[in-house]
Amino acid sequence: MSVLIFVENWDGKFKKLSFELVSYGAKVAEMLNTDAVALSVGQVEANELEKLGRYGAARILSAVNDNINVFDSQAFTSIIAGFAQQENAEVVLLSNNNTGKAIAPRLSVRLKAGLAAGVSKLPLSTNPFNVYKKVYSGNAFSNVIIKTDLKILTLAQNSYEVTETAGKSVVTQVTAEWNSATVKTRVTEVQKQTGKILLTDADVVVSGGRGMKSAENWGPIVELAELLGAATACSRPVSDEGWRPHEEHTGQTGKIIAPNLYFAIGISGATQHLAGVSSSKFIVAINTDKDAPIFSAAQYGIIGDAGKVLPKLVEAVRELKGK
């Protein structure tokens, strides 16, 4: 038996999300009295792989194949399903990010295993296997029982503490099956921004809404974000207006994020907006309207004109950071 954790890498590197996933998987393995096995697919250096051991992976499988040149959901499903069977997995764990969402449902069918997507707590019990996840876009939560022997879980990002253990682990090099002739996805173009903090990875997010009035007023938001090492975001009307790029739109139909700190500036706090940010640990709201619903979701608030408050806030943060 084992808990198999699919740990994605980004150009050969892991990130906080990977360690969060391993920490969670290790704890589930402990609950099941079995081992957590991390599966990495693609070229990753030994010292990077070994990091996974620090978060509780008892064994690390490093599956490589020089022919892998595209993310194809069928081919990746085959690779993971193969190792799930080989490792006699009881639970297969993935992240609820783009990659996990693409693979987990296919894996569920391939392995005839019940899937719970976006779990955000440890299982309440393992027999029956009872997990906790949000429903109605964060307006409620549910306890769900997975009835099959093998279970597939995807973990909501930033929902579990990264926990270091003293454990040691063994890295095993294995071959990832890959048959280029049967892979159907072909990449023709990649557009990637580099050097920017990804919204979904950021610990702090500074977000502006329609109350910012126009694209020209974004200066202090960007400045505040830079000072705090934060990502910038916006509400839907803002990206619809073209004031900010679409990638920044958070909410029900945009990005769903769970940073430690979310600044909502000139955002009213519509249900659909909150659906994307309500898992934030702290929300700070700045709004002229004292009755704006965002204040019911926020821990800290300033009732005032963003145009006047923001420059002062930027100065105060600059002082704190000594810049």
């Binding site: 959901s73 693409a102 449902p105 569920s108 997507a117 429903v135 549910s142 072909r186 679409h246 700190l261």
Partner: protein, 249 residues
């Protein structure tokens, strides 16, 4: 070419959900039901593709797994412009059951492009599209923000971390869509609403499939502590609270 759009019937996104029977069941009193937002955008994109005659799309069909109560939502999809509809008469107990019913309906059919939403706004499962593709042994592309057709292949833009990737995939393919696939959902015009009444809505009885998961009960989110207000003249106080009370910056 034929397009299929899978639609889910969900409470309006502004609904304040409530539960009954000891938090075991959704209280449906007063709920306004709508097409799942991503499915509505998928349908819009499907119709845009059909409008461009060079794509040579014969028909856009919508499919739904659910009971008769969902028919107004299906009719709405027909009013927006779908040519016909299929409803599998089963309670949509979990994603596996829904995907299995859809796969059964699609077995003998030949849809080239199948749209599913990245999630439904009720169970937030992100599951049906991928499951359906696997059941049919079709390729699937997830986090899709654009779909075009070129030389009988699907040219799909998908979101990757920090950017986008354009991929080509042979049809049949399942496109699992998110934001960006269409700008605004298409709205039904009066003529469409009239025509929807006479369009074909085929009801198919389900095959026997068990769900793999089961909701035991629901919980409401923990109420947040009341908001602490800071003097707008002195945002320094906010910085101080974030640093020393919340210990977050």
């Amino acid at each position: 070419m034929k397009i299929l759009v899978c639609i889910s019937n969900v409470p309006d996104t502004t609904t304040k959900v409530k539960f009954i029977d000891d938090f075991k069941k959704l209280d449906i009193t007063g709920i306004q039901w709508v097409i799942n937002p991503w499915d509505e955008l998928s349908l819009t994109r499907a119709l845009e593709l059909k409008d461009d005659t060079s794509n040579n799309i014969q028909s856009v069909t919508v499919a739904h797994v659910g009971l008769v109560g969902a028919e107004p939502t299906i009719r709405k999809a027909l009013a927006i412009g779908a040519d016909d509809a299929i409803r599998v008469n089963a309670e949509p107990a979990d994603a596996w059951l829904v995907a299995s019913q859809l796969a059964n309906v699609l077995k003998g059919e030949s849809y080239d492009l199948i749209f599913c939403g990245i999630e439904s706004s009720d169970f937030n499962g992100s599951s049906v599209g991928g499951m359906l593709a696997e059941l049919l042994n079709y390729p699937s592309v997830s986090s899709v923000s654009n779909v075009k057709l070129e030389n009988g292949q699907a040219v799909i833009t998908r979101e990757i971390d920090g950017g986008k990737e354009i991929v080509t995939v042979p049809v049949p393919v399942v496109a699992i869509v998110q934001k960006g696939i269409a700008k605004e959902p298409r709205i039904a015009a009066m003529r469409g609403i009239m025509m929807a009444r006479t369009k074909l809505l085929k009801v198919i009885e389900p095959v026997a499939v068990d769900s793999l998961t089961e909701v035991v009960n629901y919980e409401m989110p923990k109420p947040r502590a009341a908001c602490k207000f800071v003097d707008p003249e002195n945002p320094g106080q906010l910085v101080e609270l974030l640093q020393n009370e919340a210990k977050i910056i």
